[in-house]
Structures are given as structure tokens and as C-alpha cells.
């Protein structure tokens, strides 16, 4: 097993914002085609700002840590700012990931994208 950074281990052992939100404004659920893992991200939005985010992830240490970090990065950001959070941003915030684990951070980016898309669609209707 490759070595994880201290930050990854911290977010893996004490993941922030685990769970679900009552009446979420947006839900993103995505799968990782590479190894078959799944992440679900729920967001609460007020005045175009993400005020809460919660996740559930079925995946490796890196997947759980990036999920946790993504929720931290996203809370307090406007929807537009949140769309700029890519998997690289999340990975960097964790002091990097082993190369073979980079694909795990895609889960976080895609789940966020999906949650925002879901939110925007709900706004329209």
C-alpha cells in the first residue's frame, strides 16, 4: 500500500460532514468506473451560497479523505466558486495523493458537479 499524507490520514480517520441532509437542495451520486467506488454528496444552498454539505462514500482511504475535504472546501462558497473546485484542488488541499490514487479524487469533483447540476435543475422547475 502506498503511503498517504498526514492530511489524508486525518480526513480518513476523522472524516468531516459524513451523512445526509434533510431536504437537500442538490444531490450528486457518482460511481468511479475505474475501481467501482461510489460517492454521494448532498448540499444545502441559501442565497446562492452552499451552507451545508454532507457525503457518503464507498471507497478506499483516498476516496473517503477527498470526499471529506471536498465538503470542507465547498461549505461557504457560492455556487459559481464551487464549480471551480476540481479534483486537483481537492488533492492539493490534502498535500497530494499517491499517483495510483489520483483517480479517486475524481469522485469528489464529479459528485460536486452532479450536486450543483441537480440544484440548478431544481431551481428551474
Amino acid at each position: 500500500m502506498e503511503q498517504y499524507s498526514e492530511k489524508v490520514m486525518d480526513h480518513f480517520t476523522n472524516p468531516r460532514n459524513v451523512g445526509t441532509i434533510e431536504n437537500p437542495d442538490g444531490i450528486g451520486r457518482v460511481g468511479n468506473p475505474i475501481c467501482g467506488d461510489v460517492m454521494e454528496l448532498q448540499i444545502k444552498v441559501k442565497d446562492n451560497v452552499i451552507v451545508d454539505a454532507k457525503f457518503r462514500t464507498f471507497g478506499c482511504g483516498a476516496a473517503i479523505a477527498t470526499s471529506s475535504m471536498a465538503t470542507e472546501l465547498v461549505i461557504g462558497k457560492s455556487i459559481d466558486e464551487a464549480t471551480k473546485i476540481t479534483n486537483k484542488v481537492v488533492a492539493e488541499a490534502l498535500d497530494g495523493l499517491p499517483p495510483i490514487k489520483m483517480h479517486c479524487s475524481n469522485l469528489a469533483e464529479e459528485a460536486l458537479e452532479a450536486a450543483i447540476k441537480d440544484y440548478r435543475e431544481k431551481q428551474k422547475s
Partner: protein, 386 residues
């Protein structure tokens, strides 16, 4: 915190007696066994003593043992060596879907080089389907290679019955006994095999040394060319300390084997019972009884194996997993897929493999810690609703 090591199927600590036996062969007894002067006689004799010990332990004669660099080389040597030697006779090989990669990838390599390979399926307990074996045999079949017991799920294969069929059709038969030698009885005549692979570090010998048993009369081409060592079947200056260590480990193993088999099987079954009782949606992988005494493999629904291992590691517990996330190919274990597990259950598998130093207290502690870990990860999983 005391570490709890439950990954003996991966490797075992080298016995101190083994290390002591090896030490003089690094320093005082350094002579090249192939040389003519007298200091080389000591090393030459040491190799032959080890060969004798191993031969006796498996019911072979000394001339039928070739020392190698380990289990993978032994498997490669057996399969490529027979395939090459018999290439004019036929180009078909039969193996199983649950072999170690040292066998599987060697077969894949041969497939790319003009050979045909049949991969026999196994039943849900991981035992090779015997009726499929008969059906797979062709006129050009030159080799059957099926492991003695599986490294991931511990299922012990009906090697004797396979050998009978192989003999009937005059096909060479190789078995990978890396997981069994030193743990359960291995006798080449009882098993009736032509070739058998052994690895030193799986039974408290040193790493980097193994052996291949080659029944007298078996046609085989060397893998490594260059010198006359090992009766011209394997060139390279012998790993004298390693071979001496292997011999020493072979001397120790049989003396404790029957007691250890009973003790470990009991520990195994107690632990399995506890886990299956206390953790919902968990299942045992592999056969309930036709199983290595030291192998436990359990799948936990809805969670991923690497996460389980990282959590166990925080308590100093070492185990392994068949999860896609912890393999370099990002593919789940081929063994777990072959016994019919879906990707999710293969993901959530953990193997605990016991050794002679494993105690009931250690396993009790793991059984105490594990439910909490599983619960915590399941609470985090979108695929598990408690």
C-alpha cells in the same frame, strides 16, 4: 500497543534458529560451491544436506529437488520449462481460474507465444470443478497446473484426484504448494504429482529461496542458463545461506505441524463464528472445512477493503484484502470473482492468515475491534442502509 500480525500467507517472520543456521554461510563459509578447493566443500555439503532434508520431508529423492529464488520462479520454471520441453508433443495447458499470478500470468505469457490454455472454473467454495477437467483434456494437452491450496480463500484442491486423471492421460501435473508446504502434509507420492513448487518464507524460512520438485523422468527445459549448478537445471551461484535456511525451516516445520494444524483450525473456526455472529451481512469466502487451517477470508457488505485495512492498521493489526482499490491493477481479486462474488462483495473482503505465534487473545482482540470499524465505515457508505 502490541502489533497483531495476521498476514502469514503473505510472509512469515524468519525463525531465529533459521537465521542462526544461515549466518556462518555469509562469513566463514563463503566458498563458491562450484569451486574445487576445500573451503568450498563445506558450502557444497551444506547445500546437499538441505536438499536431503527437503527431499525426505516430501517423499522425494535428492536428485529431484532444484533450489530456486522462490515460489514465483518455481512456478515459472515448472510451466515454461515443461511447455518448452514438450512443445513438439502439444501446446495445450490446463490450469484453474484461481491460481496465483505466478501461474496465471505465466500461462497468459505462453498464450501469447503459441500455446492454448484452458482455465477451469471453480464452485462457490473455490474448489476446481472436476467434471470440467475431464472435458478440457485434449490430445495435445501437455501440462496440468493446479494449486494445492488457494492463497486468498484457503480452499484445498482435490490434487490427488486431479493427478489420477493426469496420469490416466499421461499428462505432466504441476502443483503450486507454496501455501501448503509446512502447514499441511505434502508428500509428492501421496499427491502423485510430477512437479511441486515451494517457497521458503511461507513457513518461517528466509525470503528469496524456494524449490521445485521435479519427478525423475519429467521433461523440462531450464529457465536460467549459464552454469552447471543444480545438475544443469538452474544456472547461478547458489544462494547458500538461503538454501541452508530453507533446510533448517524444513527441519522445524513437521515437528509442530500436526499440533499447529489442530490449534490453528480451532482458532480459525472460533474467530469465524464470532465475526459472522456479531457482524451482520458478513460472509465467509471459501470452503468451510476443506480449507487451510490458517486461512480466514470474510466479506463485509457495503464497504471497501482498503478502508478496513487502514482502520485495522491504526490498532496495529495487519491483514490483507482482495479489494480493487488496493491492487495495482485496480481490479478486484480474480479469485473472489471466480467463486461468484460481485464486485461490491469482493471489494469488502479481508483475509486474516494465522501463524504459529498467533494466539487466541490476539484474535479475540481483533474480533472486539472489527465490529466497530465495520459499523463506522458502513455509516459512511451510500451502499449500505443500516
Amino acid at each position: 500497543m502490541k502489533n497483531i500480525y495476521l498476514d502469514h500467507a503473505a510472509t512469515c517472520p524468519t525463525d531465529p534458529e533459521v537465521v542462526n543456521a544461515m549466518l556462518p554461510y555469509f562469513t566463514e563459509n563463503y566458498g563458491n560451491p562450484s569451486s574445487i578447493y576445500s573451503i568450498s566443500r563445506t558450502t557444497r555439503n551444506a547445500i546437499e544436506d538441505a536438499r536431503e532434508i527437503l527431499a525426505k520431508a516430501i517423499g522425494a529423492s535428492s536428485g529431484e529437488i532444484v533450489f530456486t529464488s522462490g515460489g514465483s520462479e518455481s512456478d515459472n520454471f515448472a510451466i515454461k520449462g515443461v511447455a518448452h520441453a514438450l512443445r513438439e508433443k502439444g501446446r495445450h495447458i490446463i490450469t484453474s481460474q484461481i491460481e496465483h499470478h505466478a501461474v496465471l500470468y505465466t500461462c497468459k505469457f505462453l498464450e501469447k507465444n503459441g500455446y492454448d490454455v484452458s482455465y477451469l472454473p471453480v464452485d462457490s467454495a473455490g474448489i476446481v470443478k472436476m467434471d470440467e477437467l475431464e472435458k478440457a483434456i485434449r490430445r495435445d494437452t501437455i501440462l496440468i497446473t493446479i494449486m494445492h491450496a488457494n492463497n486468498e480463500i484457503g480452499s484445498i484442491q482435490p490434487v490427488r484426484e486431479i493427478a489420477e486423471i493426469a496420469k490416466k492421460h499421461k499428462i505432466a501435473f504441476h502443483t503450486d504448494a507454496v501455501q501448503t508446504f509446512g502447514h499441511i502434509p505434502v508428500n509428492v507420492n501421496e499427491l502423485n504429482v510430477d512437479l511441486l513448487s515451494i517457497s521458503g518464507h511461507k513457513f518461517h524460512g528466509p525470503k528469496g529461496v524456494g524449490a521445485l520438485y521435479i519427478r525423475k523422468g519429467t521433461k523440462i527445459t531450464p529457465l536460467i542458463h549459464g552454469g552447471d549448478q543444480e545438475r544443469r537445471r538452474r544456472a547461478s551461484t547458489e544462494n547458500v545461506p538461503g538454501i541452508v535456511g530453507l533446510g533448517q525451516a524444513v527441519e522445524i516445520a513437521p515437528g509442530i505441524m500436526s499440533d499447529e494444524m489442530k490449534r490453528q483450525a480451532q482458532l480459525r473456526d472460533t474467530f469465524i463464528g464470532k465475526i459472522l455472529n456479531t457482524i451482520p451481512d458478513s460472509r465467509l469466502n471459501g470452503h468451510a472445512t476443506q480449507r487451510l487451517p490458517n486461512n480466514i477470508n470474510i466479506s463485509f457488505k457495503g464497504i471497501e477493503g482498503e478502508s478496513i485495512l487502514l482502520n485495522l492498521d491504526m490498532f496495529g493489526i495487519a491483514a490483507s484484502t482482495g479489494s480493487a482499490c488496493s491492487s495495482s491493477s485496480l481490479e478486484p481479486s480474480h479469485v473472489l470473482l471466480a467463486i461468484g462474488l460481485d464486485h461490491e462483495l469482493a471489494h469488502g473482503s479481508v483475509r486474516f492468515s494465522l501463524g504459529k505465534h498467533t494466539t487466541l487473545e490476539e484474535l479475540d482482540r481483533v474480533a472486539e475491534i472489527l465490529p466497530g470499524i465495520i459499523k463506522k465505515l458502513r455509516a459512511m457508505s451510500p451502499l449500505y442502509n443500516q
